[in-house]
């Protein structure tokens, strides 16, 4: 039997309660007082996030199974060549690192010894023009914390935004609310790379019109702000357009990491943990104070 007259509070009253509760939640969440509630809500959704990747994994497995012998041999050969090449590079790198440490001890400054890395897989992508956030399959159970840097083999991808027990959300460097402190390799110029809301572009909004920057310049992390370790590639400058009548030039750069194609990401632990913890609260706006510093240099 169906009810003709609903029992309990009326629909209007229920709507009012729902809207008030939602507004209260939004206000609380905006102030960041509910990380536990969010983690508790995300945890039961983990099977869903896993399930959505099953077909993709199956296609990948099938692809592997059916890829021909010659293709595999070719792949193998290429990887061997690449490994020899990288090993040689690493030899010189190790020597350089030793030299760098020795020189820095001479100068009495600290040197960050390498980073520990963890491989995580992409679970979901939340791409809107106003937020570039991806979900990965490792969470606080694996020791992941907020504001850890995330990379792929080509460069910086972003940083950890929120952590749940089995998953974590990573904000990409192209998110309009994200900024990375960077340095031009060619001349050491410091600036900030801000996301543009497009997956293939970051902006350098705080460079004056006469700044010494050219298309093709490599931008690496400067290590300022304390979130990203220094020296990792971020982007290469694409266009430089001086704007007459405005204080800053219009400079765009193309991220080097394959932001929209990588399925495997690397999460880095800085050996110097206290530094990450100090930067934890400031992320992702940690980079903002760097802007005046770049002006002060000139």
């Amino acid at each position: 039997m169906k009810r003709i007259f609903a029992k309990g509070p009326s629909v209007n009253l229920r709507l009012l309660a729902a809207l008030l509760a939602a507004a209260a939640l939004m206000a609380a969440d905006h102030r960041g007082v509910l990380p536990e509630l969010r983690a508790a809500l995300v945890a039961p959704l983990y099977p869903l996030q896993q399930a959505v990747n099953v077909p993709i994994r199956m296609v990948e497995k099938l692809w592997e199974a059916f890829s021909s012998y010659t293709a595999l041999v070719k792949d193998n050969q290429r990887l061997k060549d690449e490994q020899t090449f990288l090993k040689t590079r690493l030899l010189t790198y190790a020597a350089l690192e030793k030299e760098n440490i020795r020189l820095r001890t001479l100068l009495d400054t600290t040197y960050k010894l390498g980073e520990q890395l963890l491989v995580a897989e992409l679970l979901a992508v939340q791409m809107d023009p106003y937020q570039h956030v991806v979900t990965i399959n490792k969470g606080s159970r694996f020791g992941i914390r907020k504001a850890q840097p995330v990379l792929d083999e080509n460069g910086i991808i972003g940083q950890v935004l929120r952590v749940a027990p089995f998953t974590a959300e990573v904000i990409l460097i192209t998110d309009p609310n994200h900024a990375v402190p960077v340095q031009v390799v060619r001349n050491g110029l410091l600036t900030v790379a801000v996301g543009a809301g497009r997956s293939n572009q970051v902006l350098l909004p705080y460079l004056p019109n006469n700044a010494d920057i050219e298309p093709g310049d490599l931008l690496v992390t400067s290590g300022l702000g304390g979130v990203f370790p220094a020296g990792y590639p971020v982007a290469s400058v694409a266009t430089v357009m001086p704007q007459s009548g405005r204080p800053f030039a219009l400079v765009t750069a193309k991220p080097l990491a394959k932001l929209d194609r990588s399925r495997e990401l690397l999460i880095a632990w800085n050996r110097d943990r206290s530094k990450i913890e100090a930067g934890e609260n400031a992320a992702p706006e940690a980079a903002q104070p760097v802007a005046p510093a770049s002006d002060a240099r000139r």
Partner: protein, 162 residues
């Protein structure tokens, strides 16, 4: 009195689960931002089909889960979904009798309302920039309504969810 039998409730939950899967489908970035709001489509269907079982409270809970799932501010979609639920519950008797084309137009309005609330909240929060592409998921969702409606009705009749 039970409005919905236990296996019916399971079916409703499964339909929400499927909608969540579609919502977080790992599509290429260019497509992902136009992925329509599948959860709201399924919610609207249940509001029209079983208004005494799926009401404002269910919409609020589903909205909260959607917020957690898509990394939005908690309560953002709960707000929009409960408002749409209220409208659906006010109008379901009329909407049920409309032909599918007219229903689709109403659903377009609902999706637009939910997306507009989303837009408004993001603007208040200070997010941006928004181009016309931000709104593209609304007509796409409305175009998918006949598909959602017919397939859910078909399966509902097989399982006798009443």
């Amino acid at each position: 009195m039970h409005a919905v039998r236990p296996h019916g409730r399971l079916f409703i939950l499964l339909s929400f689960g499927a909608a969540m899967l579609l919502r977080i489908l790992p599509l290429p970035a260019e497509l992902a931002k136009h992925n329509p709001d599948w959860l709201l489509l399924v919610l609207i269907y249940w509001h029209l089909a079983l208004p005494e079982a799926v009401g404002v409270g269910v919409a609020w809970c589903i909205g909260l889960l959607a917020d957690a799932l898509t990394g939005k501010m908690l309560g953002q979609q709960a707000f929009a979904y409960s408002l749409v639920a209220w409208l659906c519950l006010k109008l379901y008797q009329r909407l049920r009798l409309h032909p599918l084309t007219q229903q689709t137009l109403a659903v377009l309005g609902y999706l637009f309302l939910a997306h507009g609330i989303d837009f408004w909240i993001l603007r208040v929060k200070g997010d941006g920039p928004f181009g016309w592409a931000y709104w593209l998921s609304v007509p796409l969702g409305a175009l998918l309504w006949p598909l959602v409606y017919l397939s859910l009705r078909h399966v509902r009749r097989i399982f006798h969810v009443r």
